[in-house]
């Protein structure tokens, strides 16, 4: 089991980034890549006893042994090379820590470290040439995917999954097959949602008659004799829900109390629209009638008294009494909405119902299941249709069949079924499986007609077609889903919804909070769709803001709510200076250089530091008041503890470089009464001052960044954790990205054409 330190290049190059190693490391990694040739079995790697076992024995096993495995790691069990090769994931993890200088305490001499690394790298390269694309566990549609899928499938505007319980997150993303479970609570909601969606999509005309007593209305006026008494002008309303859209008869029973030049006027509204006007001239109850057109769903019916009249001196008083409001309908022909016609193109002739239903259901199921329904699927769906048809109608049967499809595991899960006889062999995905992988990766929704059509014709599996489709999908507006779901999780933006900056010192309105996330997502999308390199994430001279955010940044000349591209000042630019990232990495009352540094190590370099040992105390709480000392001084104090310094000397300086940004991302030159000191010194003696110089240093490590991003993206695209077996695929993706001028779209193309994306290993059955 692997928790971090997944790929070796990162760890090696990070050490480089922070100056603990020489250029030799990265070169050796590249050399290893270049040497890559297909091989059938893992190559015997030389030097295990000398370069690995000796180090483990001398430096590691005192703490990491079977009796008390520190951090859950037992390194005493690798006595032979075969044992080590059988558990390369652990060896890789150990190497990551050693190379990063975090282990063993006190470090290893360079020669030993390099030798340990060389052995592990070679072993890993040999291993991953076996080309195991892994097995992705059955993935349930997550909330975002469910919402998008039902919108595309049915044309609904509702977002049912907003009310589902949260999806659990694994490997940093909420689309991991292993982690997405189905609890009874969720199942209940899925079944309810299937019913609601089916009722919305397929219209079954039902006669609706309801009489609402005046006293059911709330708002203006008061209850009287079961009715609504309106002594002054005002509106009272009642919520209703109509099963079917159409023309309805509206009947209102009312009487007036007359005074002044005109009779009481009654206005009836549906939602905000006035649908009828009545003049109530009678002192006795009378029925007023009108025809109204109302769409299906929830509405608010309002009755309004519009012309109150009262003269205190003469006690002349005009009032209105509404006894009841009645709705009956729909009257006349049903206007079937387009969404209904998608599923039920026409009503069949008598005697043709069953055959027609089978045809319609087959067409719908093919889209819902994202591949053609088999005759067996249809055999099981037909009894459902029958249940609705008997004692109901053709449409009711169709409605029920749609409900069944939306409740089926074939809809709710993304199936990749190995054909019988696959055994443990690797197989290429078929066109339909590939279509779903592509569409859920790039769009977070079901494949569109073009993808399904290419899958049906067997063309999608052709490399040229696949690339062309991926390019088409990147250019499509639906690619915004990759920003919403991939980028927002990669960069930790979803935490914007839960961070709570101190409202007194650092007020952030809900709208501004949303804008912060929008900026970064728009920025991501621009890099993707405009063919920009991934280095723009680190530094760029443009970004996307609206008026609110521009004010927050102090950028002038932007008005309105719309986001637009702007040129940003030199000290802004890139995600490290965007309010979203700066806010999610701060504490409520102060910045956290440590969290910001950790964020960079995690998300830019892909080398998260290990968590602090238990029981280590944080810096004192009054630090934010900065009365006697600066935060920096307190942190420097804190770092004197060697248990802390090994990691903090990497994290904190990076964070210090961002100290000109306050906890909600505004520029500052003072913190309390002190001048901001945005200088930092990285281990190995590289010094810098301010965010611009820091970004330059980070830009020097763009291969490291490319690798980290590739790993995140592959994880998200596959819906499973990436491990050492995927190393070759990742390395290849990075090489392809470099070849494409570091463009983000080249990385996306490299991911969708990688083996783990195109293939899967059989289940052994």
């Amino acid at each position: 089991m692997r928790t971090r330190g997944k790929t070796t290049i990162r760890a090696a190059a990070l050490a480089l980034a922070v100056g603990t190693m020489g250029m030799a490391t990265l070169r050796s990694v590249e050399a290893a890549q270049a040497r890559k040739t297909p091989a059938k079995t893992p190559k015997k790697v030389a030097g295990f006893a000398r370069d690995v076992k000796a180090v483990l024995d001398a430096k590691c096993v005192a703490c990491h042994n079977a009796a008390s495995p520190a951090a859950g790691l037992n390194l005493a069990k690798y006595k032979t090379e075969a044992q080590a090769l059988a558990d390369l994931g652990t060896m890789e993890k150990a190497m990551g820590r050693i190379v990063a200088g975090e282990m063993p305490p006190g470090g290893l001499p360079t020669a030993q470290r390099t030798a340990f690394q060389a052995w592990t790298q070679d072993a890993l390269n040999a291993q991953c040439r076996l080309a195991d694309p892994g097995r992705v566990t059955l993935r349930r549609l997550n909330r975002a995917e469910y919402n998008n899928t039902v919108a595309d499938l049915l044309g609904t505007k509702t977002r049912p999954a907003d009310d589902f319980p949260g999806d659990d997150v694994g490997n940093g993303f909420d689309n991991m097959g292993d982690v997405l479970s189905v609890s009874p609570l969720l199942m209940e909601k899925l079944l309810d949602s299937a019913e609601k969606l089916a009722r919305e999509a397929v219209v079954v005309p039902r006669l609706f008659t309801r009489r609402y007593a005046g006293s059911d209305f709330s708002g203006a006026g008061s209850d009287r004799e079961g009715g609504l008494y309106l002594p002054t002008s005002g509106v009272a309303s009642k919520e209703i829900r109509l099963p079917t859209a159409g023309d309805y008869r509206l009947r209102v029973k009312a009487r007036g109390e007359l005074a002044g030049p005109e009779a009481p006027k009654l206005e009836v509204r549906v939602d905000d629209a006035v649908v009828a006007n009545f003049v109530v001239e009678d002192r006795k109850l009378r029925e007023f009638e009108a025809g109204v057109k109302i769409p299906a769903g929830a509405h608010r019916i309002g009755v309004q008294f519009t012309n109150d009249y009262y003269v205190a001196a003469t006690k002349e008083d005009r009032n209105l009494f509404v006894e009841s409001v009645e709705l009956t309908g729909p009257t006349g022909a049903i206007a079937y909405p387009e969404t209904h016609r998608r599923i039920v193109p026409f009503e069949p002739a008598k005697g043709q119902e069953e055959a027609t239903a089978r045809k319609f259901i087959a067409a719908f199921a093919a889209r819902a299941f994202r591949r053609p329904a088999t005759p067996q699927d249809l055999d099981r769906l037909m009894p459902v249709w029958q249940a609705g048809f008997k004692g109901g109608s053709f449409d009711e049967g169709m409605q029920l069949a749609v409900q069944a499809c939306l409740s089926s595991p074939r809809f709710l899960f993304r199936l990749e079924q190995d054909p019988p006889g696959t055994g443990a062999k690797v197989r290429a995905l078929d066109g339909y499986e590939l279509a779903s992988r592509l569409s859920y990766f790039l769009w977070s929704t079901m494949p569109d007609a073009e993808l399904l059509d290419l899958a049906a014709k067997g063309k999608l599996v052709q490399p040229a077609v696949l690339r062309a489709q991926a390019k088409r999908m990147i250019a499509d507006p639906r690619a915004a889903a990759l920003a919403d779901n991939f980028a927002a999780q990669w960069l930790g933006l979803r935490k914007l919804a839960i961070v709570e900056p101190d409202p007194k010192q650092y007020p952030v309105s809900p709208a501004l909070r949303k804008d912060m996330g929008t900026e970064t997502e728009r920025f991501f999308l621009a890099i993707l769709q405009n063919g920009r390199p991934i280095t723009d994430f680190i530094d760029a001279d443009y970004s996307y803001v609206n008026e609110r955010l521009a004010q927050h940044y102090g950028i002038e000349g932007v008005t309105g709510n719309e986001f637009r591209r702007v040129k940003v000042p030199a000290d802004r630019g890139g995600v490290l200076s965007q309010a979203s990232v700066l806010t999610v990495t701060s504490n409520p009352t102060r910045t956290s250089p440590t969290k910001r540094g950790k964020w960079v190590l995690e998300n830019i370099f892909g080398t998260p530091p290990p968590p602090p040992p238990p029981g280590v105390s944080d810096i004192p709480s009054e630090a934010h008041q900065l009365e006697a000392t600066t935060l920096r001084q307190l942190m420097e104090q804190h770092r004197k503890n060697p248990a802390c310094s090994v990691c903090h000397q990497k994290m904190d300086p990076i964070g210090f470089g961002m100290e000109n940004f306050d906890p909600i991302g505004r520029w500052r030159t003072k913190e309390g009464k002190f001048d901001v000191d945005a200088s930092g010194a990285l281990p190995g003696g590289v010094s810098f001052r301010g965010p611009t110089q820091l970004k330059k240093i980070i830009l020097g490590q763009k291969d490291l960044f490319a690798h980290a991003l590739a790993e995140k993206m592959l994880t998200y695209a596959l819906g499973r954790g990436v491990d050492f077996k995927d190393k070759c695929a990742l390395d290849a993706a990075v090489v392809a990205t470099k070849g494409g001028g570091y463009r983000l779209d080249s990385l996306v193309l490299a991911v969708v054409t990688s083996d783990p994306f195109l293939k899967r290993k059989g289940n052994g059955k």
């Binding site: 999806d167 991991m176 982690v179 019913e195 459902v384 029920l400 709710l412 079924q417 839960i498 944080d618």
Partner: protein, 446 residues
């Protein structure tokens, strides 16, 4: 989205409570026939990041006399129904070689007594929790086997705690080793789940036909899932099993459909509008939902997480603008300890609201509180040390006359908390021999 919501809602509750008992309001309802007159309920209320123990633990053992410790003072009104339990531990929440990650590990362990497998991706592995053990045994007596609620959704990004999946830090309730039970955080949705949203009635359909149609769907999906399962392998099967089990549970629930409808008709309570912005209101409204579910006997088992562990929420309303997690790592700093105590007390004030509401609801000769056993506490003792012995725990209620109150009970250090759970299961009438790391039943509480 304002405090009015809950007050409006409570006016409805008030009307309901004015009547002597629910039974009287619902003559002839099926549940009255099958249910014991005043069933015993169990509830587990969880707070994150440990407690400032110096303001929590009463000085003397035995009867709770004199002033309560400052954090517990809001509970003065229910003192006689209160037991402070000191000395219980969740040994399996400790690292035991797995390194950091106490927030997630202790949450997963809190009601299971199991050492969760350290993973942030595949292969989550924990154990069944005490509430689910009870729910599985007695859940068939009510419409919902159990109710899981909270105020924070599951984790939003990244691994939640040092290599542990968010599934661990956001769920105390576990149906099986691999299946956490998701919680509902929106009071409106809890209400609709308990009582329906009125669609069916509005559309005037016959209940019998609705049931028939619903059954045809369930038949289809069970068969569909069964056939699929046969063709899949490895971990895919586990996913379909989850689906299968969930469908089964809903099928049995369908049979109790009418009683819930009746309860809704009787309740006449307006549905809450949504999640209140004020956190105290949110906790109280969720508490109201739990009480309502107990009152209508829709369930007898509930878990309620005030927040997920590791939460860094700011408590401005309690005078603590800093983050909770940051304050829990107090490092002995008196200012931070004081702030932590303020947060603890804020939570206890909300607990006091819940307990007082239960006490105000008459049931037979006593109150709902007399017929409930409610465990309140955390999976971490000191938020700075992250220790899981000497856990802060409170047991409130009378458990149907089987639980005395007004006591501060101390146990041998490191007594498994799971021993208490076994005794609670006994009291519920669903005895079990073991749970997690239990070594026997806990003597002296009941």
């Amino acid at each position: 989205m304002n405090p009015i919501d809950r007050r409006t809602f409570l006016r409805g509750m008030g009307a309901m409570m004015a009547l002597p008992t629910l039974e009287r309001m619902m003559p002839g309802v099926a549940l009255a026939a099958s249910a014991p007159k005043n069933p015993v309920r169990m509830a587990f209320l969880f707070v994150p990041n440990g407690i400032n123990m110096s303001q929590w633990t009463p000085a003397a053992e035995g009867a709770l006399v004199g002033a309560l410790p400052s954090t517990l003072q809001p509970l003065e009104g229910v003192r006689s129904s209160l037991n402070v339990l000191t000395g219980l531990a969740q040994h399996n929440a400790f690292a035991l070689g797995d390194g950091p990650g106490d927030h997630a590990r202790s949450t997963a362990c809190w009601l299971t007594g199991v050492h969760a497998r350290k993973t942030n991706g595949s292969d989550i592995q924990n154990g069944p929790s005490v509430d689910q053990v009870a729910a599985m045994r007695m859940g068939n007596q009510t419409r919902f086997a159990s109710l899981e609620i909270g105020c924070e959704r599951s984790g939003l990004a990244g691994d939640c705690d040092s290599g542990y999946s968010c599934a661990y830090s956001s769920n105390v309730s576990w149906k099986s080793a691999t299946q956490p039970v998701a919680k509902e955080t929106n009071p409106r949705l809890v209400f609709e789940r308990l009582f329906g949203n009125g669609d069916a009635a509005e559309q005037g359909e016959s209940l019998a036909r609705r049931r028939l149609l619903k059954q045809s769907i369930l038949d289809f999906v069970s068969e569909d899932a069964g056939r699929l399962k046969a063709s899949l392998g490895g971990r895919d099967v586990r996913k379909l099993d989850e689906y299968f089990t969930a469908v089964r549970e809903i099928e049995t629930r369908l049979e109790k459909f009418e009683s819930a409808q009746a309860a809704r008709a009787a309740a006449g309570v307006a549905a809450p509008r949504g999640i209140p912005q004020d956190y105290a209101e949110h906790i109280r409204l969720m508490g109201d939902m739990m009480i309502l579910a107990f009152q209508a006997d829709l369930t007898r088992v509930c878990t309620f997480m005030f927040a997920n562990d590791g939460s860094n929420r700011s408590y401005v309303q309690a005078g603590v603008p800093e983050g909770h997690h940051d304050m829990s790592h107090h490092g002995g700093d008196p200012a931070k300890l004081e702030k932590k105590a303020r947060i603890d007390r804020f939570h206890v004030e909300q607990l006091a609201y819940v307990l007082n509401r239960m006490k105000s609801i008459k049931e037979g000769d006593g109150t709902m509180l007399d017929n409930t056993m409610l465990l309140y506490g955390a999976g971490i003792s000191d938020g700075n040390r992250h220790n899981h012995d000497d856990l802060p725990l409170l047991m409130a209620g009378g458990a149907g006359g089987r639980l005395k109150g007004g006591r501060h009970m101390t146990f041998e250090p490191n007594t498994p908390l799971t021993n208490l759970f076994l005794s609670m299961l006994d009291t519920m009438g669903v005895p079990a021999e073991t749970l997690g790391d239990s070594t026997g039943k806990l003597k002296g509480v009941f």
